[in-house]
């Protein structure tokens, strides 16, 4: 805590000096510059006659002023984050955005105190050009596409109709109340109120993300709210511009034609923005196809081209947020397929860093900008009513739309979802930036609007952000029994989750099949050919097929070898004690030493270190062993897909690696089991000619399939001397021993199998289902030697088709 406080002092001090320095150096900056220049000029000429002589060190503040201030603010924001995360208790309750706003208020006060003028505010230019694009790009790039497009109808409905509803009603009701005179004399007309309504109605992506990350709602709900916050930008932009120009023209001159033009412009803006995003995404994917030799700067392309899409759209007065969102959404698949492993990691980390940093700065400046008495205008009725109206209309809007949508949706949205949706409709920096853009000449009540917006933003971010988590857990707890689950229930419950995921996968996403299949076909035939590197295309989802192919080939080669040797000399080693085939049939006495000390001896990392919890549980009915069993299950049970699926996170990338670890383990096990069961069923001790016939049928089918799959570059060869099976340019150097077989010697893989069984990919998320790396310099590579010699074997004619 002392460290936190000292950092805080330092930060505050820094700000005060900055404020003072920038202010004091302003008037005489110019003078010192010229005198300094004069000085050196003089001394350059000859023996400087100036009184100071040659200055060894000079304080050239002006030289570095602008970048220095920027850098210091970024530093302050980042230091603030460190300080906040030092205390877990605080961050659990208060969302980070709220903390940042408080800090901003504090710093704003300091600046104000030192300077008596608001030197630093969140100007719309900085916000829209530098701070918002990284956040939105990050959102688009990591968007779970399947979920997003699966719920696109719902998202669009909420984004478009919901926002229009909110804007219209809020503006009209405020106008209505104004007419009754409660608000006192305001120089505003209907159009001003509508303008205000349009900019305060929009749900803000930055705020939503910041808060929802703490709340952990289910996938569908998250994507709906998040998608809505991104896509309503088009509506906001249109409404804002339309009303802004109406206000400029003057209320009386607005004609019906203008209204129609407004509606048309909505479609133009939204579709145009989306198209621009898609065009740039295609461009980006195409470019990354050829960056094999410039791998170091590969990540740069992603950022530059996406940013250009934002700027282009802004230039054409289309929806820039939509453009950059769709640029991210559309390019993810191809970029991830094309660029190499390290570049993917670089892109991810950089994007997260930029987005997280921008978000921090945005919230902090939201706090700072509030400390500016020049803009403060207080009108109780207006502010209170705005708060009331936006909340009420949001709730009503959500309920009505959900009721409508539930009649067409497969997965229904329940009451708790609706509560979260209405409560989670946060306003944020976008509203503030838009209101700061207002021209005080045209909109006389600009200051009132600004103050109200600030208060609304603070209210939603701080109050709603603080209370949404308790609200959600209260609601959820209310619906389910609160009871300690039994071991059985935990275990079987988890098993059910897995079963359910599997059945879902088998039965497919019924309902959207037609469109999705059509799109998948189109995409595979044209887009992937154009945008993905040839190597990535080939490896795309061949891994399981390949594995099976190899199984068949290996099986045949085994048969051949067995026939050659006259017996099936396949060794099942005595150490059958491996992962799956553990022989548990013998009853071991259950004097299992499940004590904590045993665990500690064996595997320190697996002990649940929450000894306090264990101690507390001791007082309850269970005994120590029971508790440990619960703990072990809790920690180590594999998570079902629903839980591991795309947890969108602004501040962390690590969840993915844990998922990867789990998936890798399961994948290895499954493949090993399949391989062994395949071998054992086909090559069992009671092997007969019949099984060879099965092979023939099987391999015949496989052969046909291989023709279409074109695995071997058109060459179909059963020969073992074919070390490469997927490559166009590179020869793959395969690991000498496949990973999951390396510890056991139960099944002796054929030479070729050893060479060619694909290494389980490190990264399962990038392509569906899996990707095979063809890069010899990747981290995939394990072997450090050349491909081992294959014994030349001739297959008996019988198995060769």
């Amino acid at each position: 805590m002392e460290r936190a406080l000292s950092i805080l002092y330092f930060v505050v001090l820094l700000n005060a000096t900055l404020a003072g320095a920038s202010d004091s150096s302003k008037p005489d900056g110019h003078g010192s510059d010229s005198s300094g220049g004069h000085n050196s000029h003089d001394s350059g000429h000859g023996e400087g006659h100036s009184p100071d002589g040659l200055q060894i060190v000079s304080f050239k503040w002006h030289h570095v002023e602008a970048p220095y201030i920027i850098a210091v603010w970024i530093l302050v924001a980042s230091l603030a984050k460190i300080v906040f995360h030092m205390s877990h208790k605080v961050t659990n309750v208060v969302p980070e955005s709220a903390l940042l706003i408080f800090l901003g208020l504090l710093l704003g006060g300091v600046v104000w105190g030192a300077d008596h003028s608001a030197s630093f505010t969140l100007t719309p230019t900085i916000f829209f050009f530098y701070l918002l694009p990284p956040i939105v790009l990050d959102a688009g790039y990591f968007m779970p596409n399947r979920l997003f497009f699966g719920n696109l109808g719902t998202i669009l409905m909420y984004a478009v109709i919901g926002t229009v509803w909110n804007a219209a009603l809020t503006g009209l009701s405020l106008y209505g109340v104004f007419l009754t005179g409660i608000m006192g004399p305001l120089q505003a007309g209907l159009l001003d109120f509508l303008l205000f309504g349009s900019l305060i109605a929009a749900v803000d992506p930055v705020a939503v993300l910041a808060v929802f990350e703490e709340v952990h709602v289910n996938d569908v709900l998250f994507i709906i709210v998040f998608g809505e916050s991104l896509l309503n930008d088009a509506v906001t932009v249109v409404l804002y511009n339309v009303f802004d120009s109406f206000v400029a023209i003057g209320g009386e001159n607005v004609t019906g034609v203008d209204c129609v033009k407004g509606i048309v412009s909505f479609f133009v803006v939204s579709i145009g923005g989306t198209l621009i995003g898609i065009i740039f995404a295609l461009l980006l994917s195409f470019v990354t196809r050829f960056t094999k030799h410039v791998r170091i700067i590969e990540p740069g392309f992603v950022f530059i081209i996406s940013y250009l899409s934002y700027l282009t759209s802004e230039m054409l007065s289309l929806s820039a947020i939509l453009a950059i969102t769709f640029a991210g959404v559309c390019c993810q698949k191809y970029v991830n397929a094309n660029i190499n492993e390290q570049s993917v990691t670089t892109v991810r980390y950089t994007m997260k860093m930029l987005a997280s940093g921008s978000e921090t700065i945005v919230f902090m400046f939201l706090g700072i900008s509030a400390v500016d008495p020049n803009i403060w205008t207080w009108n109780t009725a207006f502010i209170l009513l705005t708060l009331v109206f936006i909340s009420v209309y949001r709730v009503i809007g959500v309920v009505i739309q959900t009721w409508l949508l539930n009649r067409y949706r497969m997965v229904q949205l329940e009451i708790i979802d609706q509560v979260v949706m209405s409560y989670g409709g946060l306003r944020g920096a976008v509203a503030f930036a838009l209101v700061a853009l207002l021209d005080p000449e045209k909109v006389k009540e600009r200051n009132l609007f600004v103050s109200t917006t600030i208060i609304v933003v603070y209210f939603t971010v701080i109050f709603q952000g603080l209370t949404i988590k308790p609200l959600v857990s209260w609601l959820k707890v209310k619906r389910s029994e609160h009871r300690d689950p039994l071991l059985n229930e935990k275990l079987h419950g988890r098993a059910f989750d897995h079963i359910l995921s599997a059945i879902e996968d088998i039965s497919g996403q019924i309902g959207h099949n037609y469109m999705r299949d059509k799109w998948a076909k189109f995409e595979r035939r044209f887009l992937s050919k154009l945008l993905m590197r040839r190597s990535a295309q080939k490896s795309r989802d061949q891994i399981l097929n390949v594995f099976h192919e190899l199984n068949i080939k290996d099986a045949i080669s085994y048969v051949a070898e067995g026939e050659r040797r006259g017996s099936l000399a396949f060794i099942r080693s005595a150490s059958t004690d491996q992962l799956v085939n553990v022989d548990f049939s013998t009853q071991r006495p259950s004097i299992v030493d499940a004590s904590v000390s045993a665990l500690l001896r064996g595997n320190p990392s697996s002990v649940c270190l929450d000894m306090q919890a264990i101690e507390e549980k001791r007082k309850s009915v269970r005994d120590k062993e029971d508790t440990l069993s619960h703990h072990v299950l809790q920690q180590y049970l594999y998570k079902p897909r629903h839980q591991t699926r795309h947890k969108y996170s602004r501040h962390a990338i690590t969840p993915n690696t844990e998922d990867n670890k789990q998936e890798k383990e399961i994948f290895r096990r499954t493949m090993k089991k399949r391989l062994e069961s395949f071998k054992s069923t086909k090559l069992g001790v009671n092997y007969s000619k019949k099984s060879i016939k099965n092979y023939k049928k099987d391999s015949g089918r496989c052969k046909k399939k291989k023709k279409s799959v074109a695995l071997l570059n058109g060459r179909i060869s059963w020969g073992i001397d074919n070390p490469t099976f997927i490559s166009d340019e590179n020869v793959m150097v395969r690991p000498a021993i496949p990973p999951w077989l390396s510890n056991e010697d139960t099944v002796v893989p054929s030479q070729r199998a050893r060479v060619q069984i694909p290494w389980s990919p490190n990264n399962f998320r990038r392509l569906t289902p899996l990707r095979l790396s063809t890069r010899s310099v990747d981290s995939f590579q394990m072997a450090d030697g050349p491909v081992p010699e294959h014994p030349r074997m001739t297959l008996p004619e019988g198995t060769h088709l």
Partner: protein
């Protein structure tokens, strides 16, 4: 899908399937579509390999067991009817449905769902989950860091909790009893199969 009327007639045995499983004709059509997508070699039956080629199943701990459930009694291939019959277990349960007293239990009742899950555990089909079988399932569902002793202790505790007649195995009735508080209807239903 306005054309479902004529399309369903393409599905072999659609009427019996509908009666047996309770799926609507729209659903049967879509499942048939999916069946055809999965059936890579277009011979009207699914083999193990077709199901194994679904990538997500390879990273599901119980994936292979579930595939085995589709091929009972060692058959090599299944037709559409058997495919749908198994998926019918996962339809959401209908409450308070009128049932003729002689009709067999619907496929998606709570009992049937539990029986399906029970069969996943009980590999040797003796109607009981033995300690060994439970350990196998546990091993599949748990990370590699867990040692065998820990697993055995967990298995022992689990059996202890559920075993009412003290024979050291879990019968189907005991299985059902241990899960009576769990909302099976929700946990084992896929909503879009309604």
């Amino acid at each position: 899908m306005g054309a479902t009327g004529s399309a369903v007639s393409r599905v072999p045995g659609a009427d019996e399937i509908q009666k047996e499983t309770g799926f609507s004709s729209a659903h049967i059509y879509r499942l048939y579509d999916r069946f055809q997508v999965l059936d890579k070699d277009d011979n009207g039956v699914l083999s193990r390999r077709d199901l194994q080629s679904i990538g997500e199943l390879a990273v599901n701990p119980l994936g292979d067991r579930i595939i085995d459930a589709f091929f009972p009694n060692g058959v090599e291939t299944i037709d559409f009817r058997s495919f749908v019959r198994i998926l019918a277990h996962f339809r959401p349960t209908e409450e308070n449905r009128q049932r003729e007293p002689n009709a067999s239990e619907p496929l998606n009742s709570r009992n049937s769902k539990l029986k399906f899950a029970f069969q996943l555990y009980d590999q040797d089909k003796d109607g009981k989950i033995s300690r060994a079988e439970l350990l196998q399932v546990l091993r599949m569902m748990v990370g590699v860091e867990v040692t065998d002793e820990q697993l055995e202790s967990i298995a022992d505790r689990t059996i202890q909790e559920a075993d009412l007649d003290g024979d050291g195995t879990i019968s189907f009735e005991e299985f059902k009893k241990s899960l009576e508080k769990v909302n099976i209807e929700q946990k084992m239903s896929i909503r879009f199969l309604r």
